[in-house]
Structure formats: structure tokens, C-alpha cells
């Protein structure tokens, strides 16, 4: 389990308009590409230094490829990073067809089985 690596993915994709567009269009290819390149560069894109030991678990990779924010919430990926990146990907389309905040409300509804329970921790 590498919550850190999942969060690093969300952090780096959300801050880069080109990577974000690629994550929307072809998440499978983007996740594979990121895991082999930027994800392994020390910190936020060191040109030389590599982190050799980080990788996704299969379930983490699947959740990222499928934009499965429920699974990401349940594995303790950071709530702010998740919400921000999936708003970037889905909010405009949802708002245009179903009205403002419709994506955010669907997001909440899909997590409603957690109401009244302690959420999975985002601590690393």
C-alpha cells in the first residue's frame, strides 16, 4: 500500500494542465506513463535524482485508472487532493447537464455509507 505515491500522483497531475487533460482523456495511459517517469523523480520533478522503491499496489492503480474516488477515499488518499482533481475533471460537464454542484453532491452520495462512521485516516 502506498498512500504516499497515490497522493503524489494526485498532487502532481492536478497542478499540471497537460497531465490533467491526459488523465481525463486516457487515464490508463497517463497512470502508466506517470508511474514510470515523473512519479519516480525525487520530489516534484527532480531532473536527475530518482526514487527507486515507490510503486502502486494493483488496487491503487485500478482506482486511479477508473477515477474511483470512493475506493481512493476508502484507502485513505487525501480528501482534498481527491476532491480537487475530480472536480477539475467532472464539475464542468456535470454542472452543464445537471446544474451547479451536482458532481459534488453525487460524490457525497456515493460516500454516504460512511455517514456516522470514522473515516479511513489520511495519515501516512
Amino acid at each position: 500500500m502506498s498512500k504516499y505515491f497515490v497522493n503524489k500522483f494526485l498532487f502532481q497531475i492536478d497542478r499540471d494542465p497537460e497531465l490533467l487533460a491526459a488523465y481525463k482523456d486516457d487515464p490508463g495511459a497517463l497512470v502508466e506513463h506517470w508511474e514510470a517517469s515523473l512519479g519516480r523523480q525525487l520530489g516534484n520533478g527532480d531532473p536527475v535524482e530518482r526514487t527507486t522503491w515507490l510503486s502502486f499496489e494493483p488496487e491503487e492503480r485500478r482506482a486511479l485508472v477508473e477515477h474511483d474516488y470512493v475506493a481512493l477515499f476508502e484507502m485513505g488518499a487525501h480528501f482534498f487532493l481527491c476532491l480537487t482533481i475530480f472536480i477539475a475533471i467532472y464539475d464542468e460537464d456535470y454542472a452543464a447537464s445537471q446544474g451547479p454542484l451536482s458532481f459534488q453532491r453525487e460524490y457525497a452520495t456515493k460516500l454516504s455509507h460512511w455517514l456516522g462512521n470514522d473515516y479511513p485516516t489520511v495519515a501516512l
Binding site: K8, R15, N44, C82, Q104, A108, L111
Partner: protein, 292 residues
């Protein structure tokens, strides 16, 4: 010695500008006019204090800092600060700003904090995010004063305790009081009441925990640090909403003011959050005494 002329503790709502000035009046949400009115009234509480320098308190929302190196407490020491990240502009339509910094007070503050047992990190290339730009937009939209930015970790657990935030506020207060200058300094910090982001209680009709919000407003309005320390824990904040820990920055601000009643208190029940605005005047209320 410098005069601490006002302490402001405010919630920050990144959509304020978008929901008011950036939307044509006929398309605004129903609360937009009241929201704008309350923000402008709150702004007057800072204007009246005639500050020369702003000590700003906020928290980076994974804009510059990440888990590879997340500072618990950090101060910027720069002549100039850029503000607003690409993804904040994208999501909230917050404009970019360039703010003057006050390097001398940053240095004095950093040394004073180290001397008082707060081993701060320091950045010389800090970019400001919406936790500081939102209160600039609401309380000093001309962005014409030099700032000293202080960042806290309310985001990447494990977090410091509520008591530590209070103590940090007290330390900042004593450093401002000792600063050898004839300038007037205001401290402006932002945080949250109960808040849920990326969880099942997000974007509801009210904030996730209206009871917490009511209590929190009363505690801050009365300067009641004993009630806060008796009631507010990391667990109780999580229970009120998964992002409620930003409340600790409001505790910090009350720490700068001291355990005193606020001179100005207002709040606004918005969709999905309770907004709240507090001002203390530790050296006298300039709205009563006239310009000092």
C-alpha cells in the same frame, strides 16, 4: 514599540469573489448580496485600525508543500510574494497577486519564535495560496500592505494540538509587542469552522456540524480558550467534518488577541459552510477612540 492595532480571525471561502463580483448580479446565488455586505462591513474593522504591516496566518492546501517535506510551522522571509496557484485560478477564479513582503519583521518574528521554543521552518521562495489571498480579497482588496506570512499544518496529519496553536498565537503576540518600530501591525488569519471536503457530508445545505459552528463562534467571540481546550480535540474536529482542523488557525488568531471578548463578531450561514468574522482590538477600539 510596534502597536498591534487589530487581530482578525476569519473563515476563508475561495468562492467569494466568483460568487459576487465575478458573476453578473442577476446570476448570483441568493445570498451573494448579504455575503458581500457582511464582508465589506468586516473590512471596515481592519481599515479602521490603520495598519502599516499585516502578519498573515494561513495553511498551504497542498499547493506548494507536499508529503515529501511538509512543514509544521513555516514563515516566509521575502521582499515579494507571488500568490494564487494555477489550480486555484482554475477552480475558484482567484486572480494572481504580487504582494510586498516585510523582510525585517519576518526575520524578527523568526528569531523571536526560535527564542520562544517554536522551531519554525523558513522559506525564501514561498508562493501564497488562497488561505492568505482570500482574507486579502475580503479585508484588504487593494493588497497594498507588506505582509509577513505564517503557515501552519492543519492538513497533513499528525497535526500539532489545539493548545499548541493557542501557544503559538501567544508567542506571536509577544514578538509583535516587542518589535522596535513605530508601525501599526495587524494580524489577519484564516481558517474554518466545521468543514467537509471529499466526504459524504460535503456541499450540504449547511456546514457539516451546525452545533460545532454555534459553539465555536461563541467560544471565539468570548475569548473562551478554556472552553476550546476542554472541547476541541483532533477527534472532535474530525467528528464535525473531515476538514474542520482549519479551526485551529482561528484558535491561533485568538491566541494573538488573548483571552478577550472580540470587538466585532459576525457570521453568515452559506450553502455548505458557516462563515464567521471576528476582530479584536488589543490596544483600544479605533472606531470609538478615533484615529490614534
Amino acid at each position: 514599540m510596534a502597536e498591534l492595532s487589530a487581530v482578525l480571525a476569519t473563515t476563508h471561502h475561495p468562492f467569494f469573489l466568483k460568487a459576487t463580483e465575478l458573476t453578473p448580479p442577476e446570476e448570483r446565488i441568493p445570498q451573494a448580496a448579504e455575503w458581500k455586505r457582511k464582508v465589506e462591513a468586516y473590512r471596515e474593522t481592519l481599515t479602521a485600525a490603520q495598519p502599516d504591516i499585516l502578519v498573515m496566518v494561513g495553511a498551504d492546501h497542498f499547493h506548494q508543500f507536499f508529503h515529501d517535506n511538509y512543514p509544521t510551522f513555516l514563515i516566509g522571509k521575502q521582499p515579494t510574494y507571488d500568490a494564487t496557484f494555477y489550480n486555484e485560478e482554475r477552480e475558484f477564479s482567484i486572480p494572481k497577486y504580487v504582494l510586498d513582503g516585510h523582510e525585517e519583521l519576518s526575520g524578527f518574528m523568526l528569531q523571536g519564535l526560535l527564542d520562544r521554543g517554536f522551531d519554525f521552518s523558513v522559506s525564501h521562495e514561498l508562493k501564497i495560496d488562497h488561505s492568505i489571498i482570500c482574507p486579502i480579497i475580503t479585508t484588504r482588496p487593494d493588497a497594498d500592505l507588506p505582509i509577513v506570512p505564517i503557515y501552519t499544518n492543519i492538513f497533513a496529519p499528525p497535526l500539532p494540538s489545539p493548545k499548541r496553536f493557542w501557544d503559538l498565537g501567544r508567542a506571536i503576540r509577544s514578538i509583535i509587542d516587542e518589535y522596535p518600530s513605530d508601525k501599526k501591525i495587524a494580524a489577519v488569519g484564516s481558517g474554518h469552522l466545521s468543514l467537509e471536503l471529499g466526504g459524504p457530508r460535503q456541499f450540504g445545505e449547511t456546514g457539516p456540524d451546525p452545533v460545532f459552528d454555534r459553539n465555536a463562534i461563541e467560544w471565539l467571540a468570548n475569548g473562551d480558550i478554556d472552553a476550546i481546550l476542554a472541547n476541541v480535540t483532533h477527534e472532535s474536529m474530525s467528528g464535525a467534518g473531515n476538514a474542520t482542523h482549519g479551526f485551529m488557525d482561528l484558535i491561533l488568531m485568538m491566541g494573538i488577541a488573548g483571552p478577550e471578548k472580540a470587538a466585532y463578531v459576525d457570521n453568515l450561514d452559506l450553502f455548505h459552510t458557516m462563515e464567521a468574522y471576528f476582530t479584536w482590538y488589543p490596544n483600544g477600539d479605533p472606531r470609538k477612540d478615533g484615529a490614534r
